[in-house]
């Protein structure tokens, strides 16, 4: 076989803004569809539940990565969607997904109204070496709604490994009852409530004042910021971070569409 030699220095564009670099992830096994079995369902909020799946030969993932999932109807009709992995990397052979029940949603609707333990679904992944946190750098996590899911994998990883590198989570939800993983949060987390809050806690969207304290006193080496949620939230939060002085090439964004 003849092959042209790989270029030693890949082309790097001479441009002004910057995209953060790739995070080294394991062997890419994305092309393989695996049949996963639903083992349990746990309610998180009135609209969101966590689905625990046994995945044979799961290759392992980094906190923040997602997978592609597909459901197939009798007539061959297929629906595929992306879901973030909520569980931290471990060797249990299981992973967890947390799904919002989207009104009229084809895939989330099936999970919330039909799925029960023992059901089998297909997944491929893990995907993306961009929105991933290897646990090696200070992390400032900013999420809204189900956008907290990949960030929770990072929080859980941080805890499970007892990492000393700083990690903070700013999470926005409509009210306390909509705050996914509420019971699990510790001092690393600051919730922001946009519609209803417990007495004494202000109501309103994420503002510069929420972000400022973290950027006024960044850890040595600065934060790597991870922003996840709807596109409008991602635009809003990333702009606040930039205005507060966070470098654009250290902001990683996952938009749920």
């Amino acid at each position: 076989m003849t092959e042209t030699a790989a270029p030693t220095t890949p082309f790097t564009p001479p441009t002004r803004f910057a995209v953060p670099g790739r995070i080294a992830v394991g062997e890419q096994t994305a092309s393989v569809w695996r049949t996963a079995t639903l083992v349990s369902v746990r309610r998180e909020t009135p609209r969101a539940s966590t689905f625990r799946l046994a995945v044979p030969d799961w290759a392992g993932h980094l906190p923040g990565q997602h997978l592609m999932l597909r459901l197939t109807a009798e007539d061959g009709h297929v629906a595929q969607r992306h879901y973030s992995i909520a569980s931290p990397p471990d060797d249990s052979g299981h992973i967890e997904l947390t799904l919002d029940h989207v009104e009229g949603g084809e895939v989330s609707g099936w999970f919330h109204t039909v799925a029960r333990p023992g059901d089998r679904i297909e997944v491929r992944g893990p995907l993306s070496g961009f929105f991933a946190w290897p646990g090696d750098r200070p992390a400032l996590l900013v999420g809204a709604g189900s956008g907290v899911v990949p960030l929770m994998s990072m929080v859980r990883h941080h805890r499970a490994r007892d990492l000393s590198v700083p990690l903070r989570l700013l999470v926005s939800a409509r009210g306390p009852e909509d705050l996914i993983y509420a019971r699990e949060f510790g001092p690393e987390t600051t919730p922001v409530f946009t519609r209803r809050a417990p007495g004494g806690v202000p109501v309103g969207r994420l503002t510069a004042a929420h972000v400022a304290p973290f950027l006024a006193a960044p850890p040595p080496g600065g934060w790597e910021a991870y922003v996840c949620g709807s596109n409008s939230f991602a635009e809003h939060a990333s702009r606040l971070l930039v205005e507060a002085g966070q470098p654009v090439d250290r902001i990683r964004i996952e938009r749920f569409g």
Partner: protein, 202 residues
């Protein structure tokens, strides 16, 4: 194929325009960029083609607009699963730019890059023959919004949309293929939606 118990899915709307595994996003136009949206004024926008070409060249906003206009009317397909029918983009055919720089006979691929540093690799053939554009407007001549790549994006609608580099800054022509941002992250080198080339190995 593994049939999912109790899954019927939405009523089927047979649609020959829908590539395998895609769904019709209707009026929605999701945004999926991985970086902070840059707010680039048209006056600060430039587009350069260099590498394996006879005459490297940089166009500014006015020079690019002086080229003959061209419109794409049709569908776009995103690797995350949505397709959007009947879009209308206005801009300039990439052929007009490529003709001006005269690619070398050895040029086989291009790396498209954004003002953010985002990159995507494409076979040169996919950028030729009236199938690729630099787009400035959307709908009836409205400026392309920043979150969708304005003031100017590459448009290669016959491939998955991650190839259609937002905030396009240039093309580097090469005599070999070199993976771009998502391609280094496990995505397919070409990304043809009709063959469902989503990830490496598809």
């Amino acid at each position: 194929m593994h049939v999912t118990r109790g899954f019927t899915g939405r009523p089927r709307v047979p649609d020959a325009g829908l590539p395998p595994g895609q769904y019709d996003a209707g009026k929605d136009w999701p945004v999926l960029s991985a970086e902070v949206t840059p707010h680039l004024a048209p006056g600060d926008w430039t587009f350069r083609i260099d590498g394996a070409v006879a005459e490297p060249r940089t166009w500014d906003w006015d020079a690019a607009h002086a080229l003959p206009g061209s419109v794409y009317e049709g569908d776009i397909h995103c690797v995350t699963g949505w397709s959007k029918f009947g879009t209308r983009f206005g801009g300039v055919s990439l052929d007009a730019f490529l003709d001006a720089v005269r690619p070398d006979a050895s040029a086989t691929h291009a790396v498209a890059y954004a003002h953010t540093g985002y990159t995507a690799n494409l076979p040169l053939a996919d950028l030729r023959g009236g199938r690729a554009w630099i787009a400035f407007t959307y709908d009836d001549g409205k400026p392309l919004p920043a979150e969708h790549g304005g003031p100017a994006r590459l448009l290669v609608p016959h491939l998955y949309f991650w190839k259609s580099t937002k905030w396009i800054a240039g093309l580097r022509l090469l005599d070999h293929d070199e993976p771009g941002f998502w391609e280094r992250n496990g995505y397919h080198a070409r990304g043809n939606p009709w063959e469902e080339q989503r990830y490496a190995g598809d």
